[in-house]
């Protein structure tokens, strides 16, 4: 059982007030706030162990490298992978770009990439650009009115022509939990590679890459209570071995001469340049923190909060809720007569931080037929009381606009 009010004490930023009111942070899907233990870990690392990794043979260099590589092990364990299958990137977006670049090299004119209609721009634009360059075809698995994927359409759209199926696990707009295991099986049946965008799922659900049988999965650190500037790409070793690097430079090479270069082993082949070393240390501490809470409990908490939020929000007159009844971590809505940004601006004055707009998913919003929504998203530090503050804030906004 998650005790959000107790957990909140671990987050220094949430002790602040906004406009004299308790700060109620409901934008964790954009980025999550940070626990003291994570901040402390980064501070301590900078003060006691910082040096470049995989280079210095002096004590600090050894220590920094050891700690950095221990986080790789930790991340691997967290999603049930092997440590050489974990690549640190600067973001989930960079991971998606890495995949589009490196997998794209082997695709040929007419090959198909299958996405869903609920992708975030980060798992959409890289594939679109690749398709443009290599004359590939991008297809989309349809979204049903209830905010879930049309699996019948998925089965029809996934054919022998499909080379890559890439899908978001949890929608950052609707909170839908997609049947990714089934989608991965569908891809494999047709000989395609299966990719999962775990940016919104890894912070809220137990994710096991072996159980899902995905070929690749990526997520960002900052949504997982970790620092910004660090992301993770998981890939099955057999694929990573055969892929060409995305970025070239230091640390990713085995040997360089004036005539050419050969590549380092996986995963370092994909980590060119000095990585975000301290960011990785922070990610490790964030994983320690959330693991101690228990991912099963975290998931239960996320689902309960959404169920409660949907139940309470539905009571407000003039509200439209988007997404399925059973979602996680995210709820989107609009209020009749008040544009989303104005709802957000009025909620701000009540100490509430929510997001308004298209949430980097413009095609999905056009499908919903709205230019934007208001989105409230939750994390382990949010309690049901936060939903009550939100509901009261919306009612107050409606009063202002009724004047």
């Amino acid at each position: 059982m998650i005790n959000a009010n107790k957990i909140r004490e671990d987050f220094p930023i949430l002790q602040q007030k906004a406009y004299g009111k308790r700060l109620v942070y409901l934008d964790s899907a954009a980025t999550a706030q940070k626990p003291q233990a994570m901040l402390q870990a980064m501070d301590t690392f900078y003060k006691t162990s910082y040096a470049n990794v995989h280079r210095g043979i002096y004590q600090l260099g050894e220590e920094a490298t050891l700690q950095y590589e221990m986080v790789r092990e930790k991340v691997a364990k967290f999603i049930n992978a092997q440590r050489e299958e974990i690549i640190f990137t600067k973001s989930a977006t960079e991971a998606a770009n890495l995949l589009a670049h490196s997998l794209g090299e082997k695709l040929q004119e007419g090959d198909e990439i299958l996405l869903t209609e609920m992708e975030h721009h980060s798992n959409l634009v890289p594939w679109q650009q690749l398709a443009k360059k290599k004359k590939l075809v991008v297809k989309y698995i349809l979204l049903k009115n209830d905010g879930t994927l049309d699996m019948k359409a998925a089965r029809e759209l996934c054919t022998k022509k499909t080379k890559i199926l890439s899908t978001v696990h949890v929608s950052n707009v609707l909170g839908t939990i997609n049947p990714v295991k089934e989608l991965m099986a569908l891809a494999h049946k047709q000989g395609a590679l299966g990719i999962i965008d775990g940016a919104q799922s890894v912070p809220h659900l137990p994710v096991d890459v072996k159980e899902l049988d995905c070929d690749f999965l990526f997520f960002s650190g900052h949504k997982l209570l970790g620092p910004s500037g660090v992301g993770t790409l998981y890939g099955k070793r057999k694929h990573l071995e055969q892929m060409e690097p995305f970025l070239f430079g230091g640390d990713m090479i085995k040997e360089v001469s004036f005539a050419g270069a050969s590549w380092n082993d996986v995963p370092w082949k994909f980590e060119a340049g000095t990585p975000n070393i301290t960011g990785v240390i922070g990610l490790g501490a964030a994983i320690d923190y959330i693991s101690a809470l228990g991912m099963a409990q975290v998931a239960e908490h996320g689902k309960e909060l959404i169920a409660y939020a949907r139940q309470e929000l539905a009571k407000i007159s003039g509200i439209t809720l988007y997404g399925p009844k059973e979602g996680i971590a995210v709820v989107s809505f609009s209020i009749l007569g008040i544009p989303p940004h104005d709802v957000a601006a009025l909620l701000d004055r009540e100490g509430l931080a929510v997001r308004a707009g298209n949430h980097c998913a413009m095609p999905l919003l056009s499908k919903l037929g709205v230019p934007g929504t208001v989105r409230a998203s939750f994390s382990v530090y949010n309690a049901k009381e936060d939903v009550d503050v939100l509901v009261a804030g919306i009612k107050k906004a409606q009063e202002v606009f009724r004047q």
């Binding site: 602040q16 007030k17 940004h341 009025l346 308004a356």
Partner: protein
């Protein structure tokens, strides 16, 4: 958050100065004052302008705002050109819609040269509210669109 808020306010003031804004203009802290809501709910000069001579559309990806401005210009010589009529249509937040409505009233009948010289501070003065850095785009979308039309 007080220290941060102070800092933000300072930044905002610096930002406004950069945008050529006068410090002495007093802005209300309340974004949704009566006249803003009035102009949002009953926008003036809203809709299609049938005999327009110029039109231009701008987007604000932050809010998903869409703004199209239509103009009817009279006069042949550059110095004589006047804005005989104006209308706008689109969708967006209350701030951007109210700004368009207020601006349309403000510029109707003015010469093209005058309109080209309307400064951001004048627009914010019409709104009479304190607009933060992030929503400055909403407040200035109508003016930006209008001046783009005239450039063409």
């Amino acid at each position: 958050m007080n220290a941060t808020k102070e800092k933000m306010k300072e930044n905002q003031e610096a930002e406004m100065k950069n945008a050529g804004l006068q410090e002495e203009v007093r802005f209300s802290d309340d974004l949704y004052r009566e006249h803003i809501l009035d102009h949002f709910k009953n926008p003036r000069n809203f809709g299609e302008l049938r005999d327009c001579t110029l039109r231009h559309k701008e987007l604000n990806p932050l809010c998903g705002d869409e703004m199209e401005i239509m103009l009817k210009i009279n006069g042949q010589q550059a110095q004589e050109k006047k804005l005989a009529d104006i209308s706008f249509q689109g969708q967006g937040c209350a701030i951007s819609m109210a700004a368009a409505s207020l601006l349309s009233e403000h510029v109707k009948g003015k010469s093209v040269e005058e309109i080209k010289n309307v400064q951001p501070e004048e627009m914010l003065g019409l709104l009479g509210i304190q607009v933060g850095v992030v929503r400055m785009k909403c407040a200035l979308l109508a003016l930006k669109t209008l001046q783009k039309v005239l450039e063409e």
